[in-house]
């Protein structure tokens, strides 16, 4: 009974899902080895039809959602993207398109502008054509450069996103110069977060501590030298920290993700968490999923915490870190995120960092790999999960 009362209290304090992320599809022309999509995506059910996406938008907006991310996979492979953007705009969302740029020709970029798209986040894999194309397992570098020019031409604010890891982190200065050349207003230097494909390839992607420190120093030098407003976010790799990130601001606090097949999640990686009910939006409302499902309620508040989090004075600041990382590394999602040096499992993180201290690979990426990277593709997904 006490537990039920506590759950009800938590339901009452749950605020609105301010941030809505729609992963419209797992289809993607790129095959990035650091993708956070689940490695078993090939066995996901069919994608939601347009009318369900539109209903999700209406229901989430009614609850107070206001920031909208349209992602995937590559959202541009959905030919109803313009319809989805138009409805989101009518409802008052601020709409962010998170894209590889593949498929963003002038016709579509103009139509998306007319539909009310607010902003485009364009990913690059590196500042060099060779590494960009290797990491995504595609030939897309020149295309992305053209798309960047189109984004400027159509007066969208541009966020340039580059996921950093062992194979490209030494190019931070060149990446920032490229961002400047392309006219980006914001740059996200996002060190790899190890979920999905990135988790599978973690040992090959983990940079050494010296690499991370050089990248931070290069970013600092660039900030001091750039002559125009450009916001640079350097997302620190949490494995190198002593305290965990306040992941999702706590599960079920402000983020709501809907996956291509309609599963409602409190974080895009959360489907891996065992024992929780994640409702499918085909047969439930956004309101029910957000307020009433165990998938969203279980990790609200701090009743679920174990030691050392439960009695930790910092628990209100970092919420015990990331539940998915705790589960992936320790097998129990209620454990402290092992990034925290108070966690009894912290040695798992320091061991992964120590393993990255092996000699740096030469610049030839294919020859450099001790173990080949497994690229994100339906074929590799089906091989991993036959």
């Amino acid at each position: 009974m006490g537990h039920v009362a506590a759950m009800n209290a938590q339901v009452k304090i749950a605020g609105p899902p301010l941030w809505l992320l729609l992963e419209l599809t797992y289809r993607c022309p790129l095959h990035c080895a650091f993708c956070y999509n689940p490695t078993d995506f090939a066995r996901a059910g069919p994608e939601l039809p347009t009318e369900d996406w539109l209903r999700v938008l209406r229901e989430a907006r009614a609850l107070g959602a206001v920031q909208l991310g349209l992602s995937g996979g590559e959202p541009l492979v959905r030919d109803d993207l313009e319809l989805i953007v138009a409805e989101a705009h009518r409802l008052g969302f601020y709409i962010n398109l998170i894209t590889s740029g593949v498929g963003l020709n002038e016709t579509r970029i103009a139509a998306l502008k007319d539909a009310g798209l607010d902003h485009i986040q364009l990913s690059f894999q590196d500042s060099s054509k060779q590494m960009n194309d290797f990491l995504s397992s595609t030939r897309t570098f020149d295309l992305k450069s053209k798309v960047a020019a189109l984004i400027k031409q159509y007066d969208y604010p541009m966020v340039l996103n580059v996921v950093l890891h062992r194979l490209n982190i030494d190019h931070v200065e060149e990446i920032l110069n490229m961002a400047d050349r392309l006219g980006a207003e914001y740059v996200e230097l996002a060190n790899t977060q190890y979920y999905g494909w990135a988790w599978h390839n973690r040992d090959q992607l983990m940079p050494s501590r010296a690499q991370v420190e050089r990248a931070e120093a290069a970013t600092k030098r660039f900030r001091e030298r750039i002559g125009r407003p450009m916001q640079i976010y350097f997302v620190v790799p949490d494995y190198f920290e002593r305290r965990p990130k306040p992941c999702m601001n706590g599960l079920g606090s402000i983020f709501l993700t809907v996956t291509p097949d309609g599963t409602a999640l409190p974080c895009h990686a959360a489907r891996m968490l065992p024992g929780l009910e994640f409702p499918n939006i085909r047969d439930t409302s956004v309101k029910h999923a957000w307020f009433d499902s165990s998938g969203f309620n279980h990790f609200r508040g701090d009743d679920w915490m174990k030691e050392p989090c439960r009695s930790c004075p910092e628990k209100a600041r970092d919420f015990g870190g990331c539940r998915c990382q705790a589960f992936l590394m320790t097998g129990d999602a209620a454990n402290a995120d092992p990034v925290c040096d108070l966690s009894p499992h912290h040695h798992l993180v320091t061991a992964a960092v120590a393993a990255a201290e092996r000699p740096r690979p030469p610049d030839e990426p294919r020859r450099a790999e001790e173990k080949p990277l497994v690229f994100r593709s339906p074929a590799n997904s089906a091989t991993l999960f036959p």
């Binding site: 301010l18 609850l63 206001v66 207003e185």
Partner: protein, 100 residues
């Protein structure tokens, strides 16, 4: 009026015309009971007075107009110091631009 924030280095005066920076969107959010500023992948929740000032920054009204409107709406007087100080901060944060 020693508290007057206006000085030679600060171009803000009663004739200044503030507008929301086109890279931000100002919007009332009933669910948050607040005005918010939206920008790529981010949101600033404004307190009540910030919201009241910014919603009057329409690129037409001068700061003198805005101050008068606020004083009328809230049956107050002597708000110009607070309004000017807020606008100076909002310009610094790039939420607002002053039209020439």
């Amino acid at each position: 009026m020693s508290a007057d924030p206006i000085n030679d280095a600060n171009p803000i005066n009663g004739a200044s015309i503030p507008a929301i920076n086109r890279r931000f969107r100002l919007q009332w959010e009933a669910a948050q009971n607040a005005h918010v500023l939206l920008y790529p992948e981010g949101m600033i929740k404004l307190n009540a007075s910030a919201g009241e000032i910014l919603k009057r920054c329409d690129g037409k009204a001068t700061l003198a107009d805005i101050t008068a409107s606020l004083e009328q709406s809230f049956a107050a007087s002597g708000l110009s110091g607070d309004v000017f100080a807020f606008i100076a901060m909002a310009v610094e944060k790039k939420w607002v631009t002053l039209l020439p």
